[in-house]
């Protein structure tokens, strides 16, 4: 990773309007508060990661950005538009794509049909080019285009979930635990693809991860979440070297 370039990039972005900005967001499940006022920014062209323990509210933040569940307080702005109260499907049409937790591919549809679903937002425009592109990124999917999604292995399903999200040519890609339950080799592969998407296509990526070491190594900036609050933020490198982060998320091997 070109650490110098990324810091420079961040410095430029600091003066600009962020692509995605979360301000004082509180989300509840019934009466239980899950997010206790979260502030977060994602600038254009960045990879931002959110790390934290189980139940810290990482996925809730991810889902709240997509309006499901909705934030009870605070505002979420994307590309200058307030999307806090927008229905999920309309948010999806603003060139934000999400690969939700647990992959959520369509198991009885073929890989090809799954990819078509991803492209349906922009009316299948540039479908062939995009198909070619994701097939180059994930050659495994190309081999299995006619296979049902549910018959893929876990890693392939994760690839399909990311590929499906890419089919809409998103400006901002939200990834929820892409490494969940995958073998180290495939995790490495998926992270290198995320990096490639960011560097080659300039795609902005917001990554929620348990795998703190890999995520922080990859990301330009990172946030640490503890029980519904952002407790720390900084460049990926800084967080990786922070003794507190090391003690909580990185010690005991990675």
């Amino acid at each position: 990773m070109t650490a110098g370039a990324s810091i420079q990039q961040t410095a430029i972005d600091a003066g600009r309007q962020p692509l995605l900005s979360v301000r004082g967001v509180k989300t509840y499940y019934g009466n239980i508060i899950a997010l206790k006022g979260v502030d977060m920014d994602v600038h254009e062209g960045e990879i931002v990661t959110l790390i934290g323990a189980n139940g810290a509210g990482k996925s809730t933040l991810m889902m709240t950005i997509f309006g499901n569940p909705r934030a009870r307080e605070g505002t979420i702005t994307y590309a200058g538009r307030d999307i806090t109260k927008m229905p999920t499907h309309e948010i999806a049409q603003l060139s934000i794509a999400q690969s939700p937790e647990g992959r959520r591919i369509f198991p009885r549809m073929t890989v090809f049909e799954n990819l078509q679903m991803g492209a349906s937002i922009n009316g299948m425009a540039h479908f062939d080019q995009d198909l070619e592109r994701v097939c180059t990124l994930f050659p495994r999917l190309k081999e299995r285009l006619q296979q049902r999604g549910g018959t893929l292995s876990g890693g392939e399903q994760q690839m399909l979930a990311i590929a499906r999200a890419l089919m809409s040519r998103p400006r901002l890609l939200l990834l929820d635990e892409p490494s969940l339950g995958l073998a180290p080799l495939i995790v490495k592969q998926i992270f290198s693809i995320i990096k490639e998407l960011n560097e080659k296509d300039g795609m902005t990526v917001f990554l929620v991860e348990q795998n703190a070491y890999h995520a922080l190594k990859l990301a330009h900036r990172g946030y640490v979440m503890v029980t519904g609050n952002i407790t720390m933020s900084g460049t990926g490198k800084d967080l990786l070297n922070d003794p507190q982060v090391r003690a909580a998320y990185l010690e005991g091997g990675h």
Binding site: N68, P87, A92, I105, S120, P139, R144, Q146
Partner: protein, 470 residues
């Protein structure tokens, strides 16, 4: 056994991949010819004794039927063997260890072939029955049964949109059937509108009620949705019973006008159907017309559903069934998707309902109880959710089956003269359903047919495959 499709071995993989229809037809034809030849001495003539006289009675019709049957079975056998050897020769898509070639599945081979067969039988059914039973009046029972089965096929296909494709468990489908039936009954008796005007109106009204049901249940899924739809079905029935001013309550509406042959009534006298076409008047003309009417309606339902499945809205239904959250995050408006599924499913229920009213000439709330919903749902579930051909087969089995079991007179030979097969038919039927749920728990045809099949297999270059290990 010289048809190439039957020889199955690892070496002849290439041959087994495609079902050779021409060879199979040829083989079936040869087999049929042999059967016919054999049947001349065995089947075609029967000696009958009348007093002291012994004479020959020809039974060419029986011989022909047997020959046709053998022809059909032989073709089915070919399709079956071809699909099995295809399965054995190709790695199953379910084991994700080897790349799978982008070619039609075995199921598609069978269905490509079974659909024209079923369609042919359905189209020729009245003619076949006419020859088997030897007369119009004698075939009444069978044609009526055919109409009944096709009504349920249509209802099954309609409900398949809601349950099979969109995955919304609807236990109150009969409500839309009732709305359709009462729409026709009331519009025709009150305003004297003809069937052909009422049919689309009934569909629109039922679709409207589908949306009305759709709104309150938008947030529900699974069991909860089932309970609310069940209640909805009961509400419609109770309203029909209690709103006596409009619906005449439990007594129902009688003397509903009959359908005409595009304006020509089925009457005996001047200007009637028989006279216009120079036929001798027979009440069966109307029944046969009704048979073809419901056949056309059912085929329209099927055709529309098949087309919709290939369109974005149909794909959205299926995606909704698979995963609602994924649907939303892909930008699909789940509200609209659910409402269209309810409305279109209900519309076909409404068409079937108005057909029911015109056939019976009488409607009462009794015809629209929960049992009807349960039967229609059983047809969809047993057929395999989302499978059109599976639903048709299930309708034939579930509706036609009990009627066939009614005629199990051979059981008298086993259990003695006092045995009444009629009393046991539901028991046998129930056992059959249990057996089916044990062996095919996901329905007769549980495999989803992809709505897009890539024709050419995209070549995978070696450099790309290398990267994809892992």
């Amino acid at each position: 056994m010289n048809a190439p499709s039957i020889t199955s071995s690892a070496q002849t993989q290439a041959a087994t991949k495609t079902f050779d229809l021409k060879a199979a037809l040829g083989d079936a034809f040869r087999t049929a010819l042999i059967t016919f030849g054999l049947s001349i001495p065995i089947l075609s003539f029967k000696t009958e004794q009348n007093g002291a006289d012994l004479f020959l009675r020809s039974r060419w019709d029986l011989a022909l039927i047997i020959t046709a049957l053998v022809f059909g079975l032989r073709l089915v056998l070919h399709a079956f063997t071809a699909s099995r050897s295809y399965r054995q020769a190709t790695p199953s898509p379910k084991q994700a260890t080897e790349p799978v070639h982008a070619e039609p599945s075995a199921f598609q081979h069978v269905s490509k072939f079974a659909i024209p067969f079923f369609l042919g039988v359905a189209l020729a059914f009245p003619v076949l029955i006419y020859f088997v039973q030897g007369g119009l009046n004698e075939s009444r029972y069978w044609i009526d049964l055919g109409i009944l089965i096709l009504t349920y096929v249509m209802l099954g296909w309609g409900l398949n949109i809601v349950v099979g494709l969109a995955g919304l468990l609807d236990l109150g489908y009969v409500a839309f059937y009732a709305v359709g039936a009462y729409s026709y009954a009331l519009l025709s008796t009150t305003f004297g509108l003809s069937f052909w005007i009422c049919l689309p109106l009934a569909g629109i009204l039922a679709a409207f009620w589908g949306m009305i049901l759709g709104f309150p249940v938008l947030r529900l899924r699974g069991d909860y949705l089932a309970i609310v739809t069940l209640a909805f079905g009961e509400i419609i029935r109770l309203v029909l019973i209690n709103w006596t001013d409009l619906t005449n309550g439990a007594a129902g509406i009688s003397s509903i006008p009959r359908a005409s042959f595009f304006g020509i009534p089925f009457t005996a006298g001047e200007g009637g159907f028989a006279q216009t076409f120079g036929l001798e008047f027979n009440g069966m003309h109307r029944i046969i017309f009704l048979y073809y009417l419901i056949l056309v309606l059912a085929l329209i339902t099927n055709f529309v559903t098949m087309r919709l499945r290939k369109l974005p809205v149909g794909r959205a239904w299926e995606a909704l069934r698979e995963d609602e959250i994924a649907c939303r995050s892909l930008g699909i408006n789940t509200t609209n998707t659910k409402l269209t599924a309810f409305a279109i499913g209900a519309m076909f229920g409404g068409f079937a309902g108005s057909f029911f009213a015109v056939r019976q000439g009488f409607v009462s709330p009794e015809s629209f109880n929960f049992l009807e919903s349960a039967i229609i749902l059983a047809i969809v579930v047993m057929g395999g959710m989302g499978s059109q051909i599976g639903v048709a087969i299930a309708a034939i089995v579930l509706v036609g089956g009990p009627e066939v079991l009614r005629n199990l007179t051979f059981l008298k030979a086993i259990f003695g003269e006092g045995f009444d097969p009629n009393e046991y038919r539901l028991l046998i039927f129930g056992m059959g359903m249990v057996a089916m749920m044990v062996w095919r728990p996901r329905g007769l045809i549980s495999e989803r047919d992809p709505s897009v099949v890539l024709k050419e297999r995209k070549a995978i270059s070696g450099s790309l495959v290398k990267e994809g290990h892992g």
